[in-house]
Symmetry: C2
Subunit: 219 residues, 2 copies
């Protein structure tokens, strides 16, 4: 069957709605078989020219996890400084759960990507788009399994690459905190905290020309 059942379709839309970028975790370990399922879901992602540019580093070494946490803490302070008048509000936000989460995975772009031209001659950044699709797969699968995930991008990529012995040309793009949670946020945490407010889709959808939010039937 090409179309899924109504119940299956409803489940998919529900998980898309209920997925959250989590920062609060319980320390309960993640079942290794579940982690395997989540990573395989990521690996099912589309990739430009089938290059599969994603690489994952599973961090089980406790000292390494502490070092990664310190990198993020350093960048958190740098980001706060760059935010000027919003600096204090930013410093009050919880932006990561690196030390608490059950599993820590660094997602990265592979090295030697310049060899892949298909779909990337004018848009070389499509490799990152592929990695992001893989991470979104993992995120949705985790949510359905009742597991939280947070994507942390507050770090110096060169420093993190050094910590993980990454080769020239590769680049870390996400520190993924994966873990059990007490509860999922009812809305994006940055909305609940009053940091930002999402805009309705209708303002971001144009018709034939940028900025044209009016459909023909609504004119």
């Amino acid at each position: 069957m090409s179309r899924y059942s109504d119940a299956e379709i409803a489940a998919l839309y529900r998980v898309i709605r209920e997925r959250r970028d989590m920062r609060h975790f319980l320390p309960t370990p993640i079942d290794p078989e579940m982690l395997n399922r989540l990573l395989h879901a990521a690996h099912c992602a589309p990739s430009v020219g089938l290059m599969q540019p994603w690489r994952f580093v599973r961090v089980t070494d406790r000292a390494l996890r502490q070092q990664i946490h310190q990198l993020v803490e350093d960048e958190r302070i740098q980001t706060a400084a760059a935010l000027n008048e919003r600096s204090d509000a930013f410093m009050k936000l919880k932006v990561e759960g690196i030390l608490e989460c059950g599993e820590l995975i660094v997602a990265a772009l592979m090295e030697q990507r310049e060899q892949h031209i298909f779909g990337r001659r004018t848009l070389p950044e499509m490799d990152l788009a592929s990695v992001a699709g893989a991470i979104q797969n993992l995120w949705l699968a985790a949510r359905a399994e009742g597991i939280g995930m947070g994507w942390v991008s507050l770090f110096d990529p060169v420093a993190l690459a050094t910590l993980l012995n990454m080769p020239t040309g590769s680049k870390p793009v996400a520190i993924l905190c994966i873990g059990h949670v007490k509860q999922f946020y009812s809305a994006p945490m940055l909305e609940l905290e009053g940091w930002a407010k999402g805009r309705p889709l209708e303002e971001l959808l144009f018709h034939n020309s940028w900025g044209n939010t009016m459909t023909e039937s609504s004119t």
Copy 2:
């Protein structure tokens, strides 16, 4: 409930496995309500600092669709030339279904992104990651609804931005072909066509240090 039912979880993993990057479409129109659901699924995506950097341009003008097709055709020839010895094989591949698909949507990065520092001070490209997550949501929702989607990145972004009257600082990143299909590919089309072969996850998953594919239990 935090964890979804077994049947719901199974449906999600199935749609993640069965999603395909489609290039073959039937001209049957897409129900506008379904298109609305798909775009709302995209809009549920996570975004760095809740910046929601995605913009969508729905192309209903037939002449505009033809112009976009020509842009892709131009880039297809440029890409073939850049592929040297694989040029002939590349030219035989069907790389887009722009003229056949029921709906054509251009996904783009918004303008004035430099104002958003949260999570982007060291990794400004996180805006693209957010857009890619939105597109992956749309892709999965379409597959569950029995609708195919293809992400075309063979175009000159400046030329496409000009066609769509996009402001300075914005950037198109995807031409999304959305439509009914006769059938979904049983595997990625580039594998079926012998262009490339996917690698197993195990080769791309490292432990604590890049290149370390051995787990402790397997040593």
